[in-house]
Symmetry: C2
Subunit: 429 residues, 2 copies
């Protein structure tokens, strides 16, 4: 189980490097399989998608698209409490993301020159939603709502139909609440390929987002450039920095909330208070008894968990910046004082009443976050991921005459004489 | 040479598909070579970089870094006119990009909840600048200035030393004007790997941008995830939509200014005015005689150029939206009336006095633009490419108690019981 370590700085760095090895490369056999599926769908369209659905999902689809009536019928099967909670969460997510929206701008200058930048939502986005016994409606909200705020023209969802021949009703309820326009019953690499190229029944999209298995992730990477894609998510991770003001029961619960995702999830606590570390580990053992996903939790904590005791909170902050965790909880007195010193984290949870699941489900910030140390340079999923920008330039004749000398000088320095010629022909009047 | 075509809509679409085939895949042999270079640099550091410099560039470096004194000495060799033009261009680029800067925000709510998003520049960025007899100082400005505006902590440049043992003075002048902090003399895949991993002399960066040959591009793709990278640029392209108000001499010059980049560059004119089309082609032949890069221009126009006559400007706009060109000139009366109908273009040039080279060098908008039809979903290089965002969440105890029911409901629906447990332990007081 999880160990308490008095790691030196060097040992902490080595641990961080070890964690990075969790992200593996796709093996060549999978790459080839996926390349084959993509090519078959590109040329074979609907028929290829159906053939692969039969082969991989054991489902013989008579139709690829869920009708609106079917969507509403499925959604109506959900419990009232769930639907109400879903709507309140969606409202918070919508509110947070609406503040991210950028405007098109124009900069007219006194000499008549007009520069500007247009910002618009993408035409069409595909959201992949994995199947499985417990679907993730929160994932639907988090992937779809920023696209909605961005003004994307059409949002289509791809999700495997499941043994029952239809997706989990909770997924469909979330799709309706978030504003998905169409739902296609398909999964795997064939779904990604169908969205990227379009088929007889499936519209071509400009971007594909959403989590998925190795086949889905590999297909997205191979199709990058044909479409845009989101980040490929690695295993989940949480770092908690805590001082003596923290409650060990809370810390234990929060570490395990992350560990339950995946046997490769990483859950780390760093504190300057040895007694707190010990109490947290005791609490871990005690609470673990009560949890359904005990096996996954234990494997994750064994492999990638740690409770680190350091000298002072300055060292804890340094460790946080080196680790660049996906989720960072600050269970310290005066948590806001840490904010400006935390350089690298996907999402920061301040204080003892902001547990990570609050962010996963409800508070409104996105839960699609950079993993594996990429919080150094990647960002949470946001409205910016669903827009495209376009600059525009308008020069009057006089303004161009004024700039002509400079442009010709620069073009000729680069030996691009036809560029200079474009300016010269306009001079010769 | 370039043909005038009365293409049907179907033929126009087929032509667009043909253009997309210009973007090839990297051959496996190159992929393997690059993977080897990357691994050698990762483990061998400076020594590996020097060995590859010797092997590929025929240069035996005694040092990898250009000193500040050397940079200023090289810059002083440039002509005064060039330096003045460079500074004026840089000022315009800085002005345009400064308007892209996003602020960190905070949303405090009456119930004590505080949500927010921090926006900060990346820690360190590497800008690759290819060598060659005519360096591209404009490329230095366009890649570095947005990073400067973004507040990137340190901007380092990698550029091959060249036969003279030092880079082109114009490149170094541009580096100083734009605000590069350090310059390293190295090129190819080994430079990219050195920046991505860091070596004894070379600092590790978070993002690598800038154009380069197939080895540089392949290295960037392979290292994506270890660092962030920019788009891989494809061959250049321009589309001009023109009506009878356009001047055929201008159109001819502008088509050729793009064609001179590369034998695979695409230059297309679409107009509803047959006479204009014919006059443009005549002007092309005439002006071609005078241009130094005549050979490249002819090859590009032969292979990927076209002058298309359509029925009306509505068809021209439709073609523009299907093509999604990198550069789009609107040489029409009332050019602004087109702006809202043009859905997909990297940069739009309005009117008869806004030739594309104006944007390449001077007006201020970025010249690093999406190619190969990716303007459907990619954007020009901007300040947004050099920042990272981080959300933060603060809930009071009361606020969490208020949300507890909803979070537990959603977590339990997803069967993530340890997530629900994080909330429950805080209820049991």
């Amino acid at each position: 189980m999880i160990k308490i370590v008095n790691a030196t700085e060097r040992e902490r760095r080595a641990f961080i490097e070890e964690l990075k090895l969790r992200v593996g490369r796709t093996d060549p056999e999978t790459e080839q399989k996926v390349a084959r599926i993509i090519e078959d769908v590109r040329t074979g369209g609907d028929e290829a998608v159906k053939a692969y659905s039969e082969k991989f999902d054991g489902w013989t689809p008579d139709r690829l698209e869920l009708s609106r009536e079917e969507m509403e019928e499925l959604s109506a099967r959900c419990s009232g409490e769930f639907l109400e909670a879903l709507k309140r969460a969606a409202a918070n997510i919508y509110d947070f993301h609406s503040r991210q929206k950028q405007q098109s701008r124009i900069d007219p200058q006194p000499n008549g020159v007009i520069m500007g930048q247009r910002v618009r939502g993408l035409h069409r986005v595909g959201v992949y939603v994995p199947g499985g016994t417990a679907g993730y409606p929160s994932s639907v909200l988090m992937n779809v709502i920023p696209a909605k705020v961005a003004g994307v023209g059409e949002i289509v969802m791809a999700t495997p139909p499941g043994r029952a021949g239809h997706p989990d009703p909770n997924i469909i309820a979330a799709a309706l609440v978030a504003g998905v326009d169409r739902v296609f019953l398909m999964g795997g690499a064939q779904a990604v390929a169908a969205l990227a190229y379009g088929t007889e029944s499936i519209p071509k999209v400009d971007k594909i987002v959403g989590p998925g298995n190795i086949f889905v992730a590999t297909a997205k990477k191979q199709l990058y450039g044909v479409v845009d894609i989101d980040m490929i998510a690695g295993p989940s991770e949480i770092l908690i920095i805590a001082d003596s003001s923290a409650d060990p029961e809370y810390l234990a619960a929060d570490l395990m909330s992350q560990a339950e995702h995946d046997p490769m999830a990483s859950a780390i606590l760093i504190t300057d208070d040895r007694k707190l570390a010990e109490s947290t580990v005791s609490a871990l053992y005690r609470q673990l008894e009560t949890l359904a996903r005990r096996d996954i939790i234990e494997r994750a904590l064994d492999g990638y968990g740690a409770v680190i005791v350091c000298e002072n909170m300055k060292e804890a902050v340094e460790f946080a910046n080196q680790l660049a965790p996906e989720h960072l909880e600050v269970c310290c007195r005066d948590p806001f004082e840490y904010l400006g010193r935390l350089d690298n984290a996907g999402s920061v949870f301040l204080g003892n009443y902001s547990p990570e699941p609050l962010g996963d489900y409800f508070a409104g910030a996105n839960h699609v976050l950079p993993t594996g140390g990429t919080a150094r340079f990647f960002s949470p999923l946001s409205v910016d991921d669903f827009i495209k920008k376009s600059s525009f330039i308008y020069y009057t004749k006089d303004a161009l005459m004024g700039a002509a000398g400079d442009i010709i000088e620069l073009a000729e320095t680069e030996e691009l004489t036809a560029h200079a010629n474009s300016i010269r022909v306009r001079l010769e009047e």
